[in-house]
Amino acid sequence: MANLSEHKNIESIDYNAIEAMESFNNFVKKKNTFLFSITAIFLLLYILLPILAFQPVLQQKFIGNITGVWIYSAGLFIMTIVLCTVYVKKAAAFDKAAAAVLAEYQAKGGK
């Protein structure tokens, strides 16, 4: 997150002014699009497990006696780790964008 030490006096922040800034709205829009599209994807992949688990496709054996449900579940575990790592990386970029917005606000004369 942004460096907060400059904002000693919190009451003096003009939130409406920040909210009206174009850079802020671009940043939030980009961030929310990323967050919600990824969330929709992983929730969909996740809820397919209890649906497909009762279908022949995941009930058949894939490797030896290991059936599709175990492999799909392992896939969801890997997906979780990967998306967690992706988020942490992406969030670092969002931190920078948020800091830039606040810097712009201060440069415009906000305290």
């Binding site: 969330t39 497990l49 579940s73 575990f77 979780t80």
Partner: protein, 517 residues
């Protein structure tokens, strides 16, 4: 109860008391008490959140369920792991940026009304009590089984320990008890899984082959417990969305200094839970193969002792005593977190903010927090003593259902939806809560035509064990309709001004330094 068991048991009690003693010296303000002063590091909070996930239900319950029902038991493992992503992507950081001690604090940052705080706090207390009864009854039965202590004495021991941690050490002690327990549990599970793998020559294939030939192919696919898609879908929805609405998990985000640390907390939790729940396969199939269904069922119908029995087979009395002690630590840690969360709702939300209008001094707040902790502990212990002979483990699924149907819609709308208003918030919370309780009470966990299978004898009116597939949409719809059909309590301009402020705070964390320190 042998000497080794007593030794491990006392070691855990001793260690946690030392932690509490150290924590007590650092617990002087309300912020210390509820959030450890916001001073936990990412890895510490990550282990503590993992500790909350890995309750006795997760450790003993899931390994037992896999042993008895094969893949059906593993559904839970997948649900708990993916739930991390919901927390990480949409909840953790805005929660940290907007809240102070409780869920109600976060909601009232947008709607400064006492009724919002009251409803949110009531929801928290209901979830905490349901969760706690299930944990305490399970704990009593488990300790009775492992150590041969009477049920009521076991419940009292757990009750006294949890109250001691919270009362003296607040969130600092509770967090460290969670960290110690999560580490021990990860270690113990790792040892058990490795020993099982050695027996199968480190071959996953060999393990699945043995299960298929010796125990039947039905363990390889779902169907022993869950026979319908809708039942398992509903349960999985409650797990993945409910975690983000459980107040004792949400409260953990206020123990760190900023959104970045909240993020790293969940990152740690994701790795810990992914490793732990992968290992539950070895615990479950190990118990099925080496202990056997008959022996597991003879000790507990729900299979709760599968893991300790497996430990006994693999490593004798010493390993079993160690796993038993870890299970005991698990229960202690989870119930302590629940006591603290319940106290935050009673003492901070209801007493401090609603009754006293937020005008308590720092010292009065701490006294109120301690009084609240004792009250919630006593109520829970009494309820647990009465519930001894009831099968109440399903109450945990009710808690997840309420979290997903009442809390999650309100949290998401508060952060992300401009037109949301306080009437919408009340509608969502009340609808979510009431529908879960009513539909749940008409379901197969409460009613069964077979005597002794549920609490009452009779046909369930609702066929779903967990009604989440109905109640989650209800919560969201109620929040939407409540908002569009009512007029805002505050003038339009004021409502917009507040939402803009929330939006800036949630996305930039610009106000957190003021909130936590």
């Amino acid at each position: 109860m042998n000497l080794v068991s007593v030794g491990f048991f006392l070691a855990i009690v001793g260690l946690t008391l030392v932690v509490t003693y150290i924590a007590a010296k650092r617990t002087s303000s309300a912020s210390d008490f509820y959030t450890a002063g916001g001073g936990l590091k990412g890895w510490q909070n990550g282990f503590a959140i993992a500790g909350d996930y890995l309750s006795a239900a997760a450790f003993l319950g899931v390994s037992g369920a896999i042993a008895l029902t094969g893949f059906d038991g593993f559904f839970f493992s997948v649900g708990y792991v993916v739930a991390n992503l919901v927390l990480l992507y949409v909840i953790a950081e805005p929660m940290r940026n907007l809240g102070r001690y409780t869920l109600a604090d976060m909601l009232t940052a947008r709607f400064n009304e006492k009724r919002i705080r009251g409803v949110a706090a009531s929801g928290t207390i209901i979830i905490v009590i349901l969760y706690m009864i299930a944990q305490l009854v399970g704990a009593g039965a488990l300790i009775k089984l492992l150590f041969g202590i009477e049920y009521w004495i076991a419940v009292l021991i757990v009750g006294v320990m949890m109250t001691t941690y919270v009362l003296f050490g607040g969130m600092t002690a509770t967090s460290w008890v969670q960290i110690i327990k999560a580490s021990l549990l990860l270690f113990g599970t790792g040892v058990l899984a490795t020993l099982v793998l050695i027996k199968f020559d480190f071959s996953l294939m060999k393990m699945f082959d043995t299960i298929a030939t010796d125990h039947g192919e039905k363990f390889l696919v779902p169907g022993i417990k869950y026979t319908s898609t809708i039942d398992s879908v509903s349960m999985m929805m409650a797990l993945v969305l409910g975690t983000s609405g459980l107040p004792h998990i949400l409260m953990r985000f206020f123990t760190v200094k900023d959104a970045k640390t909240a993020r790293s907390s969940i990152s740690w939790t994701t790795w810990i839970t992914a490793i732990f729940f992968s290992l539950t396969i070895f615990l479950g199939f190990g118990a099925l193969n080496f202990v056997g269904i008959d022996k597991i069922l003879a000790e507990s119908k729900a299979g709760n002792t599968a893991a300790p029995l497996l430990a006994n087979y693999l490593g004798g009395d010493v390993l079993m005593a160690f796993i038993g002690a870890v299970a005991f630590a698990t229960i202690l840690a989870v119930v302590s977190g629940l006591v603290l969360t319940g106290a935050s709702a009673i003492s901070h939300d209801i007493y401090g903010e609603i009754i006293k209008g937020g005008k308590l001094t720092e010292k009065q707040q701490v006294v109120a927090a301690r009084t609240g902790s004792i009250s919630i502990a006593i109520v829970s212990i009494i309820l647990a003593l009465f519930a001894q002979n009831l099968n109440v483990s399903f109450l945990v699924s009710f808690a997840f259902c309420i979290g997903a149907s009442a809390n999650l819609p309100v949290i998401l709308y508060t952060i992300y939806w401009k037109k949301f208003n306080s009437t919408g918030a009340i509608s969502a919370m009340v609808t979510g809560l009431v529908s879960c309780l009513v539909l749940g009470a008409m379901g197969p966990n409460v009613w069964s035509p077979v005597e002794g299978a549920a609490i009452f004898v009779g046909n369930p009116l609702v066929p779903l064990a967990v009604p989440a597939v109905i109640t989650i949409p209800l919560g969201f719809i109620a929040g939407y309709l409540g908002s569009v059909l009512s007029s805002s309590k505050v003038p339009q301009e004021e409502a917009e001004r507040i939402y803009k402020e929330i939006r800036v705070k949630a996305n930039t964390g610009v106000s957190v330094s003021d909130i936590s320190h």
